[in-house]
């Protein structure tokens, strides 16, 4: 059914089946999006990683397709983002229709001067393939396929992991265990940890099809289209001339009936007309849940990605949040393992990423409530908003067909230092992601280090050791985006979030903010 050629990655008999192996600093369970991203983020910081995967191939089906700018910037650190851009479909614009009329266009990145676009649509199997290939050439990463975790015994200073392979079981000792093992997380189940949240009953049909002809690049969303008059439809283009069509089916649809190929074809025929020809790639009838663990760090076991939190698909906040988790966790864990920060630094991973999950769940629940109103008055207000949208720009702004993923701000994180100067009128405040801009012959985002960076506008200062100094011209677009004047100084974290900023360089203030950001 799929045009993607799934390769099977080789299983190699692990030596631990025959004799005990060395204790590992980090074992990661799960090779979806979060696991390999975390493995690479640790390896580039010098931490050896063992990555366990229970099967031997990439994601079945396209699944997460909208790769956001922030994720591309993170993957770019491993040299694989350009390949994703080249293979995928770059898009920044979206169009919303009411019945057969376009009522609203939006541009997610209206201003040029960024290395990466707002979004690249690329099927999850390609993302995983590129991550796996990059892991394979990384000397510090050992990836084991068909190694399934079946036991977890946490202790104060580490974890004993029991792994099942085609040749039997073995035990592993590790200082840290990162569970990136998906929404049904075996690690979470083995530890008996709850996964509280909300179940939604509206059903949706995804039909990924290969369609000949001229395909739109932008995201399209219809309320009450003529070809599906009772509900909404979302259309996205992916690599290899594949379209994702997402039909809202309502609460009462019969999933077994809706899955039948002839039924799906009938829906597609109404949408694309009698002349259209397509092949099926993947289809799925789904409902969704919004859930979040109460804590992401349980002693030496850390959860990331869908294992820790899940949201509805509206807004592309699943896979992109998994990448952000990995990026937030990696530098902290690397510092703790190297003895440069106390283990309590990981508490900020939990608080920052739980705040991000709350925000993602809030946003995606709102989009869901707009797309699938839960009660009559809600539907009437929604439809009134739609009916005003053509003539009233304010109503267009209220249409919520998915507020698309942007880096979450974690204002008030204990490791960030709030502004002391009161004359900021813009720029990323502490707790916000650093912004890209042209810098020299390249991009600002490329010049932020794997550890802390001291970004100054104007003259270079004598930065303390431990900091990557970066001086940027005080008159360009970067200065404008950072609300900078000569002397403006930003302390940027290893995950390229702003830890602190000042109107003028003060070494003692920088040292204090650095110590705080490092968890001391």
């Amino acid at each position: 059914m799929s045009s993607y050629a799934y390769r099977h990655y080789p299983y190699v008999r692990p030596p631990e089946l025959d004799r005990p192996g060395a204790r590992r600093p980090v074992v990661i369970v799960g090779a979806g999006i979060a696991g390999p991203t975390l493995a690479l983020s640790l390896a580039v910081r010098g931490v050896p990683v063992l990555l366990l995967d229970d099967d031997d191939t990439v994601s079945l089906g396209s699944r997460s397709i909208c790769q956001a700018k922030h994720s591309l910037e993170i993957w770019d650190r491993f040299g694989i983002a350009q390949r994703m851009v080249e293979k995928g479909i770059t898009w920044e614009e979206g169009e919303v229709y009411l019945r057969d009329q376009p009522i609203y266009r939006f541009n997610l990145q209206p201003e040029p001067g960024h290395k990466f676009p707002a979004f690249v649509n690329l099927q999850q199997y390609y993302v995983e393939e590129y991550l796996y290939e990059r892991c394979a050439i990384e000397p510090l990463i050992e990836m084991r396929h068909r190694n399934k975790i079946v036991g977890v015994a946490p202790r104060d200073d580490g974890v004993t992991v029991t792994v099942e392979t085609p040749d039997g079981r073995y035990d592993l000792e590790t200082d840290w265990l990162a569970a990136c093992d998906g929404v049904r997380s075996p690690v979470r189940h083995l530890l008996g940890l709850p996964y509280p949240g909300e179940v939604f009953h509206d059903q949706f049909l995804i039909a990924d099809i290969r369609l000949a002809g001229d395909l739109p690049r932008e995201r399209r969303f219809w309320f009450y289209p003529p070809f599906h008059p009772t509900n909404s439809v979302l259309l996205h283009r992916q690599a290899d001339d594949i379209l994702r069509v997402d039909f809202q089916l309502g609460r009462d649809a019969d999933p077994d009936e809706e899955k039948k190929p002839e039924k799906i074809d009938r829906r597609l025929r109404q949408m694309f007309g009698p002349e259209a020809r397509w092949e099926h790639e993947w289809s799925s009838v789904y409902t969704f849940t919004c859930r979040m663990m109460e804590r992401f760090v349980h002693g030496r076991v850390v959860f990331a990605g869908d294992a820790a939190h899940v949201v509805s698909p509206f807004g592309a906040r699943g896979g992109n949040a998994a990448v952000a988790d990995a990026d937030n966790l990696a530098w902290k864990l690397a510092r703790v393992i190297a003895g440069r920060s106390p283990a309590s630094l990981l508490d900020s991973y939990c608080s920052e990423r739980r705040a991000a999950s709350r925000e993602n769940i809030r946003q995606s629940t709102r989009s869901t409530d707009f797309i699938t109103p839960k009660f009559e008055a809600s539907r009437i207000i929604r439809d009134a908003t739609l009916s005003l949208a053509r003539d009233f720009p304010f109503a267009r702004a209220l249409i919520n067909s998915g507020r698309l993923s942007v880096p979450t701000a974690h204002g008030g994180s204990p490791i960030d230092t709030p502004d002391a100067d009161d004359d900021w009128s813009g720029g990323p405040s502490p707790g916000r992601a650093a912004l890209d801009a042209p810098a020299g012959n390249g991009w600002l985002i490329d010049r932020l280090g794997l550890d802390f960076t001291l970004l100054t506008f104007g003259d270079q200062v004598a930065a303390p050791a431990d900091l990557t100094p970066l001086a940027i011209d005080g008159s360009g677009l970067a200065a404008k985006r950072y609300d900078a004047r000569p002397g403006t100084t930003y302390l940027v974290r290893p995950d390229r979030y702003v830890a602190a900023r000042w109107r003028r360089y003060d070494e003692a203030a920088v040292q204090a903010a650095l110590a705080r950001a490092a968890g001391h």
């Binding site: 946003q363 709102r366 409530d369 707009f370 109103p373 009660f375 009559e376 008055a377 809600s378 207000i381 908003t385 009916s387 005003l388 003539d391 009233f392 720009p393 304010f394 702004a397 209220l398 919520n400 507020r403």
Partner: protein
Amino acid sequence: MEGALRRTLNLAQPDEIYNAIVDAHKGLSDEDCRAFDARLILLLVNHIGDEAVIREALKEATA
């Protein structure tokens, strides 16, 4: 044809306000919804005060 009625967005956090309006209707019967909307309209209309704006809105809200 633009008159006195504002057409562009005038809310700093539009999703918040939208959500608050929807939530205020949660659990109300149809009749209670109509009564709620009527009170809300009267409160806001009095606050706006400008008769030209109100008359234009009355016209625009007619489907």
